[in-house]
């Protein structure tokens, strides 16, 4: 069932209109934090909440087309035991979860313009999951609620 609303949401035919946008800033580029962020994104998308994901610094680096599936390590607090626990759980890779989230709902993944300059990269260097480049003001123009920083 296709439901077209003013905002263009509702590909799944959910009742739309009162859902709050999730605005995520991803800074960390380790697999554990990206995994957690991907789970939040896919969960929000499943519950019909629009999501904006803004990629800065090491998170942006992790979304580079040539290294998105490579080992990005884990946060220092994980330790070897924590990393083993995470890897052994057989989770779906975070990039696949972001893909599912975009398929499921209104999810935009935007690269921070400043971080793009820092790495001297263009959109051609990024995985197709990334929709485009935003300046920070563009992100805040869309983020009308709280911002979650990971």
């Amino acid at each position: 069932m296709l439901v077209v609303t003013a905002q263009g949401y509702g590909r799944q035919g959910y009742a739309m209109g009162t859902d709050d946008r999730l605005s995520l800033v991803l800074f960390s580029g380790t697999d554990d934090k990206l995994q957690a962020a991907a789970v939040l994104t896919v969960g929000a998308a499943a519950m019909a909440r629009p999501v904006d994901v803004f990629l800065q610094y090491w998170a942006l680096d992790a979304f580079r087309a040539d290294r998105i599936l490579k080992d990005h390590g884990v946060s220092p607090e994980a330790g070897p035991e924590g990393e083993r626990a995470m890897r052994d759980q057989g989770k779906t890779h975070w990039s696949e979860l972001f893909r599912q989230a975009k398929d499921l709902g209104q999810v935009r993944i935007q690269a921070c313009a400043d971080s793009m300059e820092m790495f001297h990269i263009t959109t051609d260097d990024l995985d197709p999951l990334v929709d485009g480049i935003w300046g920070v003001a563009s992100f805040f123009m869309e983020a009308d609620g709280p911002v979650t920083f990971i």
């Binding site: 069932m1 799944q12 035919g13 959910y14 009742a15 789970v39 896919v42 969960g43 499943a46 519950m47 019909a48 759980q89 057989g90 989770k91 779906t92 979860l97 599912q100 499921l104």
Partner: protein
């Protein structure tokens, strides 16, 4: 046991969160209105997530049965 005839059965036991829910959503999207989908999940998150999603997406949760180390959910695609 439910009297509804199961259209499709998904064994998502062993899948990590949010795998079982995502598999259910995929099956709902592929199915026809009126289809009855059974999901077996050992993921703790499913116990709250599947009922929450079914309510949000306005389908019908027919049955939740806890079993040994997993739960069985029966959902009817309502629209």
């Amino acid at each position: 046991m439910t009297t509804a005839e199961i259209t499709r059965s998904i064994d998502a036991r062993g899948m990590a969160c949010p795998g079982p829910l995502m598999t259910l959503i995929g099956a709902i999207r592929e199915g026809q209105v009126g289809d009855v989908i059974e999901v077996l999940s050992s993921d703790e998150g499913s116990k709250t997530d599947i009922p929450a999603w079914v309510a949000k997406a306005k389908h019908e949760l027919i049955e939740v049965t806890p079993d040994d180390g997993y739960s069985r959910f029966v959902i009817r695609k309502a629209r």
